[in-house]
């Protein structure tokens, strides 16, 4: 769950986000819609604790899992180490068994020792999702997970996020400008 109240964010004099109230219960699925520059990424970064808002209050249940738009897997580490990195950097106990379980959950059990450059975009995206759920997050955030994907892959990406969020019991927040995601979410926040 999370709760944002009276949140404003400015870059210099330019206000990029104004949100009176945005509250989600545990396990809910939310879609944040809006064109480029509408403040979607700023909102996600505030939710993820990567950015402190200029004004307002933020309460978010932790831990948080994030799937960035460009995925950003660490190219010098293999898939399993990319997953364990999430636990190590968060100061959590490293669980190779959990990594194997999560990889199996995203259909990549046989790619644990592949390097990111050896994966297709779809596989890399699944690894990024797996990394985001390694710490059993209470909030799972995905930034533009369907950009540049055809309809079939778009559906597969959203299926995966929903399934992983459900397995962790996490609140899911997907930010996109892609209207194809709209029918799957009853909770929607439109920015801009």
């Amino acid at each position: 769950m999370f709760s944002l109240k009276g949140v404003r964010h400015r870059y210099g004099a330019r206000e990029v986000l104004r949100l009176e109230r945005f509250v989600a219960a545990q396990g809910e699925k939310w879609l944040v819609l809006g064109p480029s520059g509408s403040g979607k990424s700023t909102l996600l970064h505030i939710l993820a604790g990567l950015l402190r808002p200029s004004d307002g209050s933020v309460e978010v249940a932790r831990p948080i899992g994030i799937v960035p738009q460009k995925l950003h897997l660490i190219s010098s580490l293999d898939v399993e180490d990319n997953l364990l990195l999430a636990q190590y950097m968060a100061g959590a106990k490293q669980e190779p068994a959990r990594a194997a379980q999560v990889l199996a959950g995203v259909g990549l059990a046989d790619r644990a020792h592949s390097r990111p450059h050896q994966l297709s975009h779809g596989q890399a995206q699944r690894v990024a999702v797996a990394r985001a759920v390694m710490n059993r997050p209470k909030l799972l955030i995905a930034d533009e997970p369907t950009s540049n994907l055809d309809d079939a892959h778009c559906a597969a990406a959203l299926d995966l996020l929903e399934a992983q969020a459900a397995e962790c019991g996490a609140t899911l927040v997907v930010a996109t400008h892609d209207a194809r995601a709209k029918p799957r979410f009853t909770n929607r926040l439109e920015l801009g």
């Binding site: 990424s41 700023t42 970064h45 950003h72 010098s76 180490d81 990195l85």
Partner: protein
């Protein structure tokens, strides 16, 4: 998964850059290591060789040449001195002990030194086999000379004229080996000893001497410290030349010291260049890894962890480079030592350690840490949101 593991993964991902940085650092450390090993061993060795010899008296000429020829057996003597003058000096009240030296011949580049048993006693040499010489044309071999020539007690050999290979052999006056000395770690290991009378006999070819007999030098031990002030002056005023091994050794090291210091400075420049190279590599890595660092922050990494990541990378490079350099240095020293041993020069070895090597390791660590400090600090300041937003 830990910080060293991640740092090593980054280093492995760039094998060429990593190898070049390691090589640069290793070359610098190896250069300094060789100089440290060589100077320490040569100084130690020359100190052992000259210990207890206060003065060398020989023919007029260069005092350094006299010391190099009569004490260290590295140079040719300038000439000989009349036996009568040498004996007069040996009887001087300020002389406690005088050891005669007669040079001129060699066997397979090992010098044949005509002397008395005091010379053996002076270096504390013990017999490994046989006995010391008791009459002319009997020879005792130093440990290294025996090993290299393969001569054993009872073997006969002919000395050759001159102190290098290729001299005319004195086949009519062969020596007979009566003893072999145990290793002492001093100059006596590399020479063949005999009586002064043997040297005279070889050169007189069994005929009576045509003129007054000669020695090459006299190794003198003072009876009193006061002798240092007066005896050399008195000797130099006469027909002989006095030289102090301690003073001439120090002078030699001062002369060599300039070259050693230049090489040492070159080594330090290489180490500093390696530090700069590590700094450049890590600074470039910062730019290449800004997304990685942002992701790590996103995953919850503390600023200290990101700083540690880069610091460990710099330190890992410097430790590996230093260890590689030390290994190179010792191997190079051993190769050099083998060449010098083959040429019967001052023996040095790569299988010895000096305390200064620990300082070298610390120097490399310091350079690595210093080179990594600024990139590490910048890594710790990585702001996640702007980097991910531009992604």
């Amino acid at each position: 998964m830990n910080l060293p593991g991640i740092s090593l993964a980054y280093l492995r991902a760039k094998p060429l850059a990593t190898a070049l940085n390691l090589l640069l650092l290793a070359l610098g450390i190896a250069t300094i290591t060789v100089l440290m090993l060589a100077t320490q061993q040569i100084e130690e060795r020359m100190g052992r060789d000259a210990r207890g010899i206060d003065m060398v008296a020989g023919a007029k000429g260069s005092p350094m040449q006299l010391v190099l020829a009569a004490v260290f057996h590295l140079d040719a003597p300038a000439g000989n001195i009349p036996l009568a003058d040498a004996m007069e000096l040996a009887r001087h009240r300020l002389v406690k002990r005088a050891i005669p030296m007669a040079l001129g011949d060699s066997y397979r580049s090992f010098r044949i030194v005509g002397t008395n048993h005091d010379y053996v006693a002076h270096y504390g040499a013990r017999l490994a086999a046989g006995s010391l010489w008791t009459k002319a044309m009997e020879a005792v071999l130093g440990a290294e000379a025996a090993r290299a020539t393969g001569l054993r007690v009872g073997a006969k050999f002919a000395g050759a004229h001159g102190l290098g290979e290729g001299g005319e052999e004195h086949e009519e006056e062969p020596y007979r080996v009566v003893g072999v000395l145990a290793p002492t770690g001093t100059v006596i290991d590399r020479i063949v000893l005999t009586s002064v009378e043997s040297v005279w006999e070889v050169h007189e070819h069994g005929k009576p001497a045509g003129g007054p007999r000669e020695l090459t030098a006299l190794l003198v031990q003072y009876a009193s410290p006061l002798a240092a002030a007066t005896l050399p002056r008195a000797v130099n005023a006469g027909t002989l030349q006095a030289a102090s091994p301690a003073y001439e050794s120090a002078r030699l090291f001062r002369m060599l010291g300039v070259g050693v210091e230049v090489l040492r400075a070159f080594g330090v420049v290489l180490v500093l260049a390696a530090g700069l190279s590590v700094f450049i590599a890590l600074t470039n890595a910062l730019e290449e890894r800004r997304y990685d660092l942002a992701v790590m922050r996103m995953l919850g990494a503390s600023r200290a962890k990101l700083m540690g990541l880069l610091l460990i990378e710099g330190l890992a490079l410097s430790v590996a480079g230093a260890l590689l350099g030390l290994a190179f240095g010792h191997i190079l020293m051993e190769v050099l030592g083998a060449a010098l041993r083959a040429a019967q020069q001052v023996p040095v070895t790569g299988w010895s350690w000096v305390a200064g090597e620990l300082w070298l390791l610390l120097l490399a660590l310091g350079v690595g840490a210093l080179a990594a400090l600024l990139p590490a600090w910048r890594a710790s300041r990585t702001e996640v949101a702007p980097v991910l937003a531009e992604g």
